[in-house]
Symmetry: D3
Subunit: 168 residues, 6 copies
């Protein structure tokens, strides 16, 4: 059984994440998705709760995919030196780490021997910070950046209203 | 989509847990399993890490079951008054809570309106504290208390050796 | 017995707070004042300790008011999803929440059924951030923004000297 | 203005506490009551929330007493060396500490110059641990150990039911 | 430069610790002494502060030894899975771990590749728990269990008085 | 035995720190160096771990100096009111505090009676923030700001590469 790790905050889950997971599922038996900053929610940078992020990501995956994707929420700790050990205590065994984040790559290289891969998803195209800005400004073009089911989910929790009220 | 919540520590996962999940999967679309005390590990009461508990539980479930079971590790917080709110922030939406634990029942009754059900699994028969004792004492009868795949997993991580060394 | 809740940081207590409390005491039997960010002190944003804030607020109230005002210091927690539950565990029963803060309003609407009222105090006129700026800059006009007893108290702890030294 | 400090957990508030406060109010202008272990609640040793303890204590005091008693909930910290400094940051100025607890006395002697007084209340007669035991066992003699208003309050929150369910 | 690690709580520092350090200094260039449970103090199990433990240990060492012994206080964290990473972030480079503790050995074996050595000091003879008991009971035989300078230091801070008052 | 306290973060240790320690060693028997923010590391403001800072500082000192310098790492706490008490619980006895930092001076004046001295090291000349900037920008002039042994140590851990990767 070959598993790969994918760490993100998914505020919100977008097509960049989605494409990366699709590609990883093509190469690995299972994908472990760490939902980072699990205890932050209802803030401008972290508008969704962890529970909502689980609902959101699951709503975008097929039944077959659901059986091969592991969602593991993990809270932040305030010490980068301990972060990899913290993650490993929460995670089932895996073989490789997929990341586009320089710090994540640095920490896994320094504190583990995992194979680290990257490069799939298009940062310029899909960017959660920009998507939150678009939503808050009432610009409907955000809907082209996330899977269709994600649009439905985010509208059902009235994300625009939430972002406006939290951000004020 | 009807979901039910099941909270446990799974130190280790045993046939009582397994039977309860089977029965819950017969009545609900999905079962959310909270892996409690997620940050405790490698102690006498919590010998397994959260990652190992995820591996252990998943190894006992079929592919179809895996697509309908959500494993959500959650750390303890030191305030019972806040515990339900803490849990809810980590959990996707659900309809009912399954529990045999008096305190869990009390807290959900006090701080939520969820339907609470109980009574399935046989506490006298399958008990994690007793199973840890049997393993530590080298009594092989523990193997009759957990699913076959769990025996394999626990032996692969040399659980006897671990318990003896941690408990000393 | 009808009680209303009023949440603030009171860094420092000013005429806006004072007027709101007066008005709330006209409509309710008792006012519960949460002194927020209770563990932050001696910083640029939180120059006063919680003890000083208690002394400061009490010095501005009459004996009759003191018997009907409850001061409850509560520390911040780093999870907005749990904040209302955290507050409720510290607070005696009450009926309504008075607030001018969008996030406080959002969180109480999302996680409780309390009646939420607002609108009394004049944000443009009395603003703690601006008052701290005035004090630090040695501009005596801050004295017109706080009750007379507050001027006396803040001068007695040499607030100007403190702000200058903390802020450097 | 002369104030005295009185530290307790008040699980529950009993006649020993009540008598001490009465006597302290005879000698001092105001009594500051620290409600300790503020974040612990709904456990066997700490069945009441902080909010309930505030309600409970206030229900036993007259209006005149209410204007001269300050209730300050403070959470525990896990370092005795820092405990007095932690308390002082939460407390308005005071002159003396009333306590019957050896550790509290030791820590205030070691880390402050406050006058420390003691000896009032009768530990053998009124003891919160014993009162919780009596309640849990359904022994009505606990009602003679607390003020009448406290009986009413504790019955209104169904304390017997709570203790039985929490303690199981 | 060859360094060895020695982890202890040193409540108090005794001849067993002293002998081990002497022997380690004979084999290694420097000894790193972790003063564990650094934030616990003034309790029955941890009567000394970290500062006192530093004073105590240093008072027993010669100038030459002082230049080759590194004292590093480290607080506990509540996760054994992360403990080694936590320690490593506080520690300068070293080659071997000296320990007589089964859990410490288990954790270093599981989470590092350090050489682990043990066996020097005589647990039956010198035992901090027993020494604290002797002191508390006023039995002067504890003085034969610690270096002479340690007797002087512990008497200077009136350890008997402290233990009696803390333990009550 | 006369000891002086010197608090810093040493990210990295530079000639300003070095000169101050030399001067303090001329006036006091021993210098206690608190390595602050001990749990922060591998971030843009705190690139070095505490262990690396210990190695770095020790590598710059002679054997004689090593026997008279005490390195004590202490983590931050998020309450300035408690900071001095927190420090004191970690520190052996001392007589004076050396600092150029206004807040440190303010807190020691408010919460202790130590003699506070300052003024030695040249803030304009040697500044850790500026040194980190120089390193990150590949400007070799940083090497003139730290002791020679520090250059060697920082190059051996590839500080430029680390800063670039962490800061991105």
């Amino acid at each position: 059984m070959k598993r790969v790790l994918f760490v993100g905050r998914f505020q919100p889950f977008h097509l960049g994440h989605y494409d990366a997971i699709k590609k990883l599922l093509g190469k690995y038996d299972e994908v472990i998705i760490v939902i980072g900053s699990a205890e932050n929610s209802l803030t401008s940078d972290n508008p969704l709760t962890t529970g909502e992020r689980i609902d959101l990501i699951r709503s975008c995956l097929s039944e077959e995919e659901l059986s091969r994707v592991l969602l593991v929420p993990i809270r932040d700790i305030n010490s980068n030196s301990v972060w990899v050990a913290h993650l490993l205590s929460y995670l089932p065994s895996f073989e490789a780490v997929y990341t586009n984040n320089d710090l994540v790559k640095f920490l896994f290289e320094k504190h583990s021997k995992f194979n680290i891969i990257g490069g799939f998803h298009k940062k310029e195209l899909y960017n959660a910070t920009r998507i939150r800005e678009l939503i808050k400004n009432g610009d409907p073009s955000w809907k082209a950046c996330v899977p269709k089911e994600a649009v439905r989910f985010l509208e059902s929790i009235r994300i625009l209203d939430r972002l406006v009220r939290i951000l004020n």
